[in-house]
């Protein structure tokens, strides 16, 4: 009997109509996806307000303001005397200007068309805007992998997947906001160049690579992924002139361009992170030359010799690179990269890196939280890539392995994993849908007449006309065109496979749609609950369930801005440097750009040593105010006492004989703040500043620290060298003023004693007047 379809597909449609309609639908779908991507990132603005989030964004925002107000060259040469006081910071040479430049361009463009938009709103909304572009780039990328339908799915996934939203909600104005788009588009351009062997796309890739280099330190990921892909292809014996042209054009242009970024400078030829790209470039040249000669020369032995020489040259090149590294001409891996391989490295040697919370390893719940059902579609997609192993699939596969490892080691690198997960999951999912939406039903096992095979295989064009006449009962070819459109599943053209019956289709499709709907729910919930809080403003819920905003940070920063001298230097732990500079506009000692370990260690030492020791340090650095974060009253766990051990460790790294971590633990090795706390802990400036007058709140009752859950002593610490200047509503931020020297040249302890009218014991004269007899 003849081929049947599970359901009727509209008959009288011309191929062009179908093509146009589908492309129109695609455009509409992409538009909707962009809309969804942007909209779901606006929770932060709706729940709170249009405000810059967290820490680094505050610096980016400040830099952008400089760029917008004083122009590009002023920004380029910007030396910030208020950061890292008194060292100052050469901003122009120590940042990736891509982000600021982007919003600067947008700003001036809008001004040019007389749309005076506040620079802050541009900064706040930049990330959502670029997320839409990311969706588009992912669509293009996935289209190269499979087809448009997979592309649309991938775009939809990455549009709303929490793993990407977590770093691109409105207000998180950080490099990652635009970097992911650049990443995906560079990869797309690379794939295109590698497939078509066009120098044009190679150059496009290079240009976007340059943009990426200017925008994000993570560009090294591209710098190593593309060479890895090329190398894998070579080893698989898939070298082709297309690969040669694509890679060479990308590397040559891209490297030259990337060296124009001041912060990168000569790194591309001097550091190990970039050596892979260089090496593969050299290898490609050798191989290309070999191919050329081989195509001309025909003698057998010569070819073997040639082959040998190629191998030899390759080894020689690697040996040279290694040698140069040992000679020191090529800098070895920087700590941040090295800590990815040797995972114990950072904690031991660079505590600053280890102390950052987003450098911690990832537990499985956060994988599921961020990627939900994509995480288990991911392997399926990888398998499908293996099924038809085209060059571009090799890329996805390598990407999958590398990114999953990195994401496991560092939470923040979840960001690089997300795109490939979306792509592979989309491939898997769309393959499933293709299979089960395909109306074609295979017929019974035994007889399989040729013509049907041909019709189903044949593309919708005039050539299918003759076959049409032969059969009556067969579905009209237009239908088959639509069917063709729906089914791109590999293998349909070969032996006739497919699904029987309508119920199976309905079941599977319903199951799939259910999953998608669930995914949308999940993403919405996660985004609105977990990833939309701007950590500058905290939200807690009252007993009656209503939301209660805790705004201590801004309260304190504005107090600083309005009540202290323009040039009053504020000392705090480095986490709050950018915020103080951004919101309070005051000089800070250290900030989140942790470029000077010693300076940070100085602050750590001041915080972790006693008043007498700390005071000279404070005076030497002209510190007027000291700011600490204390969560003990309302249970804000991210406070300085919990970070205190890192301060101690970092200080110990520089002054091992003055600060020793064990002294801050009890004999039994516990970290306590209550009566059993060791004396060193109780004397430390940080402890004193945190718990100063804390007991008074409890009116004689036993004061309790809500974060540590411990009972702190009834009689709190006393301060001689500092004055409490300000404490915010919920005691989260406490600001202390550093006293000036005593007018009578006494040390401030005795001066205080005198002020409080304490009798001092009569001082004996200096021994010079000792009795002789």
């Amino acid at each position: 009997m003849t081929a049947t379809t599970a359901y009727q597909v509209p008959a009288n449609l011309s191929p062009t109509t179908v093509a146009n309609t589908s492309s129109l639908l695609r455009i509409v779908a992409l538009a909707l996806i962009s809309g969804a991507a942007i909209a779901s990132r606006l929770f932060a603005v709706i729940n709170f307000e249009s405000i810059i989030h967290e820490f680094d964004p505050w610096f980016n925002y400040r830099a952008t303001k400089v760029l917008a107000s004083e122009g590009f060259y002023a920004f380029w040469n910007w030396f910030d005397p208020t950061a890292w006081y008194p060292l100052g910071r050469v901003v122009g040479g120590t940042i990736y200007p891509g982000l600021m430049a982007t919003s600067g361009v947008i700003y001036s463009a809008l001004r040019a068309v007389h749309l005076p938009v506040d620079i802050r709103n541009i900064c706040v909304l930049l990330a959502p805007g670029f997320s839409a572009l990311t969706a588009w780039a992912t669509y293009m990328f996935t289209k190269e992998m499979k087809d448009e339908s997979a592309g649309l799915l991938a775009a939809a996934f990455i549009g709303i997947v929490p793993g990407y939203i977590s770093r691109s909600v409105a207000g998180s104005y950080d490099n990652e906001a635009i970097a992911i788009f650049l990443l995906m588009f560079t990869f797309f351009a690379w794939i295109k160049a590698m497939k078509t062997g066009s120098a044009f796309f190679g150059t496009i890739a290079a240009l976007f690579y340059f943009y990426m280099v200017a925008a994000w330190g993570g560009y090294a990921f591209i710098t190593n992924m593309i060479p890895l892909h090329a190398l894998a292809l070579i080893l698989m014996g898939r070298y082709s002139s297309r690969l040669y042209v694509g890679y060479s054009s990308w590397y040559a242009v891209g490297t030259l361009a990337s060296m124009q970024v001041p912060f990168v400078g000569f790194q591309p030829v001097r550091t190990s992170e970039h050596m892979a790209a260089l090496g593969v470039f050299g290898l490609l040249q050798i191989i290309a030359f070999a191919e050329l000669v081989r195509s001309h020369v025909s003698s057998k032995q010569f070819q073997t010799l040639l082959f040998a020489s190629v191998i030899g040259l390759g080894l020689l090149g690697t040996a040279a690179i290694v040698g140069l590294t040992y000679k020191g001409w090529i800098a070895p891996w920087t700590g941040r990269f090295y800590s990815l391989w040797d995972t114990g490295y950072a904690k031991k040697y660079i505590p600053i890196i280890a102390s950052v919370s987003e450098h911690q390893p990832t537990a499985w719940p956060s994988f599921f939280m961020d990627l939900q059902f994509l995480i288990f579609l991911f392997p399926a997609g990888v398998i499908l890539c293996f099924k038809q192993l085209r060059d571009e699939h090799v890329f996805v596969i390598i990407y999958a392995i590398v990114a999953s490892y990195f994401a496991g080691v560092m939470v923040r690198l979840m960001l690089t994993l997300t795109p490939v997960v979306c792509v592979t999951a989309a491939i898997a999912f769309s393959t499933l849908l293709d299979t089960y939406l395909n109306p074609e039903e295979p017929e019974a096992i035994d007889e399989a007449p040729k013509p049907e095979a041909s019709t189903s295989a044949v593309a919708p064009d005039t050539s299918s006309a003759p076959t049409k006449k032969q059969k009556k009962a067969a579905p009209p070819p237009a239908g088959s065109t639509l069917a063709e459109l729906v089914t791109k599943a590999p293998g349909t053209s070969k032996r006739k496979t497919g699904v029987f019956g309508l119920d199976t289709r309905l079941l599977v499709v319903a199951n799939a749609i259910g999953m998608l709907v669930f995914f949308v729910w999940h993403c919405t919930w996660v985004t609105s609950n977990a990833y939309s809080s701007p950590s500058v403003v905290l939200a807690s819920s009252n007993p009656d369930g209503s939301q209660h905003i805790i705004d201590d940070f801004r309260e304190a920063y504005y107090w600083l801005r309005q009540n202290t001298a323009e040039d009053a230097v504020v000392m705090s732990w480095w986490d709050y440097g950018y915020q103080i500079a951004g919101m309070a506009d005051r000089p800070t000692l250290v900030d989140n750009n942790t470029w000077n370990n010693t300076h940070i260690a100085t602050v750590g030492k001041a915080m972790s040593s006693s008043e007498e020791v700390a005071y000279p340090i404070l005076r030497k650095h002209d510190v007027d105010y000291v700011l600490v974060i204390f969560g003990g009253l309302i249970g804000y766990s991210g406070d300085d006492i919990n970070k205190f051990l890192w301060m101690v460790r970092i200080a110990q790294g520089v002054w091992p004989d003055e600060i020793q971590e064990p002294n801050y633990f009890t004999r039994t090795g516990e970290y306590r703040v209550d009566d059993q706390a060791p004396q060193t802990m109780k004397d430390s400036l940080m402890y004193k500043m945190s718990y100063y007058r804390f007991a008074e709140l409890f009116g004689g009752n036993q004061p309790t620290d809500r974060v540590r859950g411990q009972q702190v002593p009834k009689t709190g610490p006393t301060l001689d060298y500092l004055d409490e200047a300000f404490t915010s509503e919920n005691w989260i931020v406490r600001i202390y003023q550093v006293k000036k020297e005593d007018p009578l040249g006494r040390d401030l302890k005795t001066a205080n004693a005198f002020e409080q009218g304490k009798k001092r014991k009569r001082t004996k004269p200096s021994p010079r007047r000792k009795a002789i007899a």
Binding site: P86, V245, L292, K764
Partner: protein, 446 residues
């Protein structure tokens, strides 16, 4: 925007030009009833002649208060209440110290009795002998009691008291200096004098025993102070006197053992003049800094710039009661500091322009936030301190030399490559058919 000023507080008080003193002319004299005012008439009238307005008050009575609403009511306070045990509520050691931070000068007299003032002395790094042990000296031979001593005036700190004074009569207690740089010794005890129980001037053994009992040895020798000044941070001045009698008319006229008039009157006047900020008062009027052959101060400077820093000093002239440019300092230094002084250089007076001190130096090759610091502290002289913050930035992106001879290899490389490329493509395009076929081949392989 980045200029920071920590200039002596007296800058604000230029308005009192009528006064003899640079810091105002109202004086409160706290005189205890035991001492009668006429006995000090010479001293006080001397002050009044100079143009001070003296207000008298007993330690007990409450008006006029020395502080009202935490504001100092007088520019100078004379504490002639060495034996008063209890003062009225507004006079406490704390309030007296706070006066100093409000730029009010103190002249305080001590006595062998244990009083609040007596205990206050230790806050000023002066160690007093046990109560009831005045200074005693049996030399030179004289018929006065051993506690009334003619003290030869040796210049301990230059220029505070006028030189070549006759010995001054002294009666009171000595004190030991702790090592505090703010102390200004004015008059030291004679070498042969010692502190001991004055009433019963028993023999040496008794003295030695007492010394051993005290556990702090014998108070003796020329290292003991009798009159000491103190310069608190902020410019005010305080003077401690071991005994009030040396200001009395009686001592002013008392014949010296060797005959001749004592130096007391002049000494008292000088001490008062120094204490009330008449003599040895300096200030920094202004500082300025700019690049060489520029005049306007730069907001920021670039590393290795040639910088000019100049400061304008003036000194208070009690005669004309006016500030006059002062070029007398030869040993002033300028520091260009970031955490540590990167440059420390002499800041000499400029010939021809009185009061101007200037120096030119090359900024260090290190960017950061630097401070021009003048910190001139000499005993007796007003402490001068000035600090001006200025950022030192690296050169602009176009501030570097454009063409480096060291970079020749790069230039040659770039030029040769591009020329080679041009030639190659030219030959390629203009090649004949064989070249064409070759091209065909190569494109096949590439």
């Amino acid at each position: 925007m980045w200029a920071r000023w920590i200039v002596p507080a007296l800058l604000g008080l230029v308005s009192f030009v009528t006064a003899k003193s640079s810091s105002g002319n109202s004086v409160l004299v706290i005189l205890e009833p035991k001492l009668d005012k006429d006995n000090f008439s010479k001293f006080f009238s001397g002050l009044e002649e100079k143009g001070y307005e003296l207000t008298f008050r007993a330690p007990k009575d409450t008006k006029p208060a020395i502080l009202e609403y935490d504001y100092a009511q007088f520019s100078h306070v004379i504490m002639f209440a060495p034996e008063t045990k209890s003062f009225s509520s507004d006079i406490t050691p704390q309030s007296l110290v706070s006066l100093l931070s409000k730029n009010t000068n103190l002249l305080i007299a001590l006595s062998p009795k244990q009083t609040p003032v007596y205990t206050l002395a230790s806050e000023f790094s002066l160690t007093l002998p046990p109560p009831g042990t005045p200074l005693i000296s049996h030399f030179p031979q004289r018929d006065d009691p051993a506690t009334v001593i003619p003290v030869p005036v040796r210049p301990v700190t230059p220029n505070v008291v006028s030189s070549k004074l006759a010995p001054v009569w002294f009666s009171g207690i000595p004190f030991a200096y702790q090592n505090n740089p703010l102390l200004v010794p004015i008059l030291n005890a004679p070498a042969e004098s010692f502190a001991s129980d004055g009433e019963t001037d028993s023999g040496a053994d008794a003295v030695v025993d007492a010394a051993d009992k005290g556990g702090e040895g014998l108070w003796a020798g020329s290292q003991m102070g009798l009159v000491a000044g103190f310069q608190p941070v902020g410019g005010a001045r305080a003077t401690w006197v071991g005994g009030v009698e040396m200001f009395s008319d009686e001592f002013f006229q008392k014949e010296l053992p060797g005959g001749g008039k004592p130096g007391n009157e002049q000494f008292a006047a000088d001490v008062a003049a120094w204490t009330f900020q008449e003599s040895l008062v300096l200030r920094i009027d202004s500082v300025e800094h700019h690049r060489v052959n520029e005049t306007v101060p730069g907001q920021v400077y670039t590393t290795n710039d040639q910088l000019v820093f100049s400061a304008y000093l003036s000194k208070y002239n009690p005669v004309s009661s006016a500030w006059e440019p002062f070029s007398g300092i030869q040993d002033m230094q300028l520091e260009f500091t970031m955490l540590d002084p990167h440059i420390r250089t002499a800041l000499p007076p400029v010939r021809g322009t009185p009061g101007k001190y200037s120096v030119t130096f090359r900024a260090p090759d290190r960017h950061g936030v630097f401070k021009f610091i003048i910190d001139y502290k000499r005993k007796g002289l007003t402490h001068l301190h000035s600090s001006t913050v200025v950022p030192l930035v690296p050169p602009r992106h176009d501030g570097y030399p454009r063409f480096l001879s060291a970079a020749w290899p790069y230039y040659v490389g770039a030029i040769s490559t591009s020329v080679g490329f041009l030639l190659f493509s030219a030959l390629w395009l203009a090649g004949d058919d064989r070249a064409g076929s070759a091209k065909g081949k190569t494109t096949k392989t590439e």
